[in-house]
């Protein structure tokens, strides 16, 4: 079934679906005071209330209105006019910075630790209960504890990212290292390669695809969590910005933020996808 389809055909269909969706949306939110339409039922008009009575402007913007707003935002994405008024680019940069810091810190700890756990069945068995209990905890549940003990909302945000990205990397690294083919380890042993050389030249490349998969899962989760975390702690970031636009009832800005979050998430995933390509091996 999943035979290769031509790129043109699939892209064409994608564009068609997008056009239909945007068209339907545009029509759905159009002012209802059509010239040739049937006379409005007064009761229906009453139900529609203020908006309909004033000529049919609904609070939900159409794609065209959002497009106009998008151009406006993208014309100057990096402006800073005081702490509460910064461009959408600046907000995304803040979020990326937090994700980068939390994810990077988690990688620095999770990959070496996962290596040690993967090499030692004893340590694996001993640490497994802790990991199994901590892993399913929503990262946001850590937030109050983080705020209480760290007393800094920005660093608490980074901590939440750290705690949510550490598990997939830790588990995947440990699994990848523990399941390195016995015969490759035997080759290293018969060559008297030594611990260090075996770790760097054999185990690391053998486990690298699994490790990078863990990193890819982690960055996906981190990007999901950062929006929620920033809604909670406020100040800066795309999550905070979404919440702020909700308070301002700027629906167009919220839709634009959703689009941006999706695009940045896609870019992050693709970046790790390139990493996965670089370390992949095939037998």
């Amino acid at each position: 079934m999943s035979a290769s389809v031509s790129l043109w055909r699939s892209a064409g269909l994608s564009l068609l679906i997008l056009a239909l969706f945007l068209g339907a949306w545009e029509i759905a939110v159009m002012p209802k005071s059509g010239g040739g339409g049937p006379a409005l039922d007064p009761e229906y008009a009453a139900l529609l209330g203020q908006a309909a009575a004033q000529g049919g402007t609904t609070p939900m913007p159409g794609p065209s209105a959002i497009g106009v707003r998008l151009l406006e935002l993208l014309a100057d994405p990096f402006y800073v006019r005081g702490p509460n008024d910064q461009g959408i680019g600046v907000q995304i940069a803040y979020s990326l910075l937090r994700v980068g810091a939390g994810f990077g810190l988690a990688a620095i700890i999770a990959i070496p630790l996962g290596f040690v756990i993967g090499m030692s069945p004893l340590l694996n068995a001993a640490l497994n209960p802790f990991i199994q209990v901590l892993r399913p905890v929503s990262p946001l549940a850590w937030m109050p504890l983080a705020l209480y003990s760290i007393k800094d909302s920005a660093i608490s945000g980074v901590f939440v990212i750290f705690i949510c990205s550490i598990w997939p990397m830790l588990l995947n690294t440990a699994f990848g290292v523990a399941t390195v083919r016995r015969e490759w380890l035997n080759v290293a042993r018969t060559l008297e390669a030594g611990r260090w050389r075996t770790a760097i030249r054999v185990i690391l490349p053998a486990a690298a695809p699994t490790i990078v998969t863990g990193m890819r899962i982690s960055i996906g989760i981190a990007w999901l969590v950062i929006v929620a975390a920033e809604m909670l702690v406020g100040g800066t970031g795309i999550g905070y910005w979404v919440w702020n636009q909700w308070n301002n009832l700027s629906i167009a800005d919220i839709v634009i933020a959703i689009l941006m979050i999706g695009l940045v998430g896609l870019a992050l995933d693709r970046l790790l996808g390139l990493g996965a390509r670089a370390v992949a091996w095939r037998e």
């Binding site: 035997n186 080759v187 037998e283």
Partner: protein, 285 residues
């Protein structure tokens, strides 16, 4: 005969099951020994013990007068499933082995030596390919080049050609025979293929069926060298040798019982036979 390695009273047990025990044999410097026996009798286990990858449940392996405690660069292994690292090129795999042998060599020196080693097995054109881009026979050649490149005192091979098609297997057998003869390589090889054993081995150890397997007989290969697959079956005595081994595999390997061994058998001095010598001379034309 002073043995370079000697296997002394080695055993492997799993719980109450004894796979084999009381296995004694030696391999002299420059000698090539093949181990033949049915699946599951413990051949791979013996090779792994000899390599130092596994410890025996009893007995010891003595090399140069000392019991081994683990693997060594002096005993290179050609693994059954080639065991190449798929993320390294053919040259990279061999160079990795060389860099383990010569810790002080530069990367360039290791790479040059690796290419030289690949050339000896006729693979200089494929040095920069990854294992996934090589055929089964080529992969096994890289495995052999890797083992020979570190100039081991002894070469251990576990059914190195069993996964290959007949044509490739034949070519590789001749090649290994040549390489082994050139360098007077001491070697130990497990095989299922009787002709392969006759081609390569100076002595052929015949192992009885497990559990409770033993070395039941030692066949001395008196056929003259150099041997190739082309001339092998024309040699006087070849058929007697081959029939003797086949008879063992078909009947005597099953009949052998260590608690009621044939007359003259003892675990520490397994009888040696030379069927090719006692063969009737070929009928004159």
């Amino acid at each position: 005969m002073t043995a370079y390695v000697s296997i002394e009273g080695v055993a492997r047990r799993y719980g109450p099951t004894t796979i084999f025990q009381d296995v004694w044999f030696g391999i002299a410097q420059g000698e090539f020994v093949c181990l033949v026996g049915h699946s599951g009798c413990g051949k791979t286990t013996i090779l792994n013990i000899l390599a130092g990858l596994e410890a025996p449940d009893d007995g010891a392996v003595i090399v140069d007068g000392e019991a081994i405690t683990g693997p060594s660069l002096d005993r290179a292994v050609v693994f059954q499933g080639h065991a190449l690292m798929p993320w390294m090129t053919a040259a990279g795999n061999v160079a990795f082995a060389i860099s383990c042998r010569h810790r002080d060599w530069s990367r360039a020196a290791c790479d040059a030596a690796a290419r030289e080693a690949l050339k000896r097995v006729g693979l200089d054109h494929a040095a920069d390919r990854k294992p996934a881009e090589l055929s089964g026979g080529m992969k096994q050649r890289v495995g052999i080049a890797r083992a020979l490149a570190i100039h081991p005192k002894m070469l251990l091979m576990d059914e190195p050609f069993s996964a290959l098609d007949a044509l490739t297997r034949g070519a590789l057998q001749d090649e290994v025979a040549r390489l082994v003869a050139e360098s007077e390589q001491t070697g130990f090889m497990i095989t299922h293929d009787v002709d392969e054993a006759i081609l390569l081995a100076d002595r052929i150890l015949l192992m009885s069926n497990g559990p409770e397997a033993r070395i039941a007989e030692v066949v001395v290969n008196t056929l003259p060298k150099p041997r190739t697959r082309a001339n092998l079956h024309h040699m006087p005595g070849y058929h007697a040798l081959r029939d003797h081994i086949l008879d063992f595999l078909i009947a005597r390997s099953r009949a052998f019982k260590a608690d009621a061994p044939p007359a003259g058998w003892s675990a520490r001095s397994v009888p040696e036979v030379s069927p090719a010598l006692s063969a009737p001379p070929l009928a004159a034309e």
